[in-house]
Structures are given as C-alpha cells and as structure tokens.
C-alpha cells in the first residue's frame, strides 16, 4: 500500500570536527510509512557511495525492523503519534537512532527466537535480526531509543 503523505527529511552537515551529514525524519506511527522511510533514508545514507549488496540489505533490515518495533510497540500504531529517526553518516560508517514516545522496554527480556521453543513462534525475530546484523547496538536507559551502527561500504 502506498503511503498518502511524503516524509520530510532534514539534512544538515555535521557540526565541529565531525565530517559527514546528519539526517532526521519524523515518521507517523503507521506501518504503511515504513517502506517509504526505508527507501528515503537508504538514499541519504548511501548518497555518493557504492555500498555492496550485503551492506544495503543490512541497512534495510535495521531500519525496517527498528521502525516496525517503534511504530507498533512504542507508539501503539497510532498514526497521530510519530517515531523520530536520526541518522549520522560519514565516509566510513552510518549511525541510526530511532526514538518513540512509548514507555520503553527491557531488551534483556526479549526471548531468543532461535531456541527450540522460539523457532516455531510467529513473533519476536525483529530485535534478534537487528542484534545480528548491526556492528553495534545500544539502548537508552528507558528503552525507547535504539541506536545501531554499520559500515557504509
């Protein structure tokens, strides 16, 4: 389904000594926006770069899974609320940060979907994929912001 609105991206050069650009976008908490947001952010992340297929796939998974979690579980899928995405891009790496206005969660309590009991469950693979495909993953203490890094090449 095509989203009815266009997302507005703010792109600014990084301040100070840091090279590169910062990209920010607010995504309405509606899963129909995820595809558009992922495409848009991928274009900004890889502008002027020639990433390998594996890197572009990883970026897509990280963005799609973290947006899905924030939209559905953080913001309750309520389109009047939004999820904030902040991306920092430099020559070598990409840092993604996704924040929702929900109460947060404890990532340590998410069960392993590859355990014998977990593999047959229809849910619970998003965070597992993020942890396995990002170079680094972290959360704020409240658990409503996730950040991830990956290479840009």
């Amino acid at each position: 389904m095509t989203a009815p609105l266009k997302l507005l991206v703010r792109r600014t050069p990084n301040r100070g000594a840091a090279e590169g650009v910062s990209v920010a976008v607010d995504v309405p908490a509606d899963v129909r926006f995820i595809e558009e947001a992922v495409e848009l952010l991928a274009r900004h992340c890889f502008a002027g770069a020639a990433p390998c297929q594996r890197t572009s796939f990883r970026l897509r998974v990280l963005l799609a899974e973290s947006l899905t979690n924030s939209i559905l579980f953080g913001a309750g899928g309520d389109p009047s609320r939004s999820v904030h995405v902040a991306v920092q891009v430099n020559a070598e790496s990409i840092r993604l940060e996704i924040t929702d206005d929900g109460p947060g969660f404890d990532p340590a309590e998410v069960p392993d979907p590859t355990s014998p009991e977990g593999v047959g469950r229809p849910i619970g693979r998003g965070l597992f994929l993020i942890k396995n495909l990002a170079d680094q993953v972290g959360f704020n203490p409240q658990g409503n912001t996730i950040w991830m890094t990956l290479p840009r090449s």
């Binding site: 897509r60 998974v61 047959g120 229809p122």
Partner: protein
C-alpha cells in the same frame, strides 16, 4: 508489490511474492493461503524468486501459515530465496522449519 496465485496440474497452489513480504502486506498472504485451505487445498508452494525482501513480520507470517497448513495435514514449501533472504532464514534457524528449494521446479518435484 503483489501476490500471484496459480494451481498446477498436481493440485499444488503456487503463491508468488512479487516484491516484498512485510508488516504492511503479510495479512494479504495469510488470507490467500487461508482461502486455499478453505477450498480444500493442502499443498502450497511460496515462490520467492521475485521477492527482494522479507521482514521479521513476513517471516512470522510464513511460520504461522506453515503451522496452519500442517495442522490441516498439508505442507507448505518455500522456493527461490535470494542469497540475502536465505541468510535470514539460516540466521533465524527457520531453514530447519521449512522445506526450502533453490527454485520452484525442484520444490514441485515429488510434491
């Protein structure tokens, strides 16, 4: 982004995913397979040869459909995963849950 559906001479329902299987369209796939089950179909092949991306919700939809089909004494097979998607199935150990073939022809042999 769409789904195609055909039935071969052996009565296997072949569902093609053209584009992506994601949180926004997984219910459409579930409805398509459920309709087949309601009509008495028991063999399903999910053809991913034109599928660029499956997110965790899409993986979850395939898991629940496979369970549903199995409970009706049927079987759901998957074919044509690209290299990235195959890696996702292996990472999540879903390759142990599904009969996965490199292409539809191989999946249909002996189905």
């Amino acid at each position: 982004m769409s789904f195609t559906r055909t039935t071969n001479a052996a009565g296997v329902a072949i569902v093609g995913i053209d584009g992506q299987l994601i949180v926004g369209n997984r219910q459409e796939l579930k409805a398509l397979v459920q309709d087949g089950l309601d009509r008495g179909e028991r063999k399903f092949l999910i053809d991913c040869s034109k599928t660029g991306y499956i997110d965790s919700s899409g993986l979850g939809a395939l898991v629940s459909l496979s369970k549903k089909v199995r409970e009706a004494n049927g079987e759901l097979r998957i074919a044509g995963l690209n290299e990235d998607l195959r890696a996702l199935f292996e990472l999540t150990k879903l390759d142990t849950l599904f009969f996965i073939s490199p292409n539809a022809t191989e999946a249909l042999a002996g189905f």
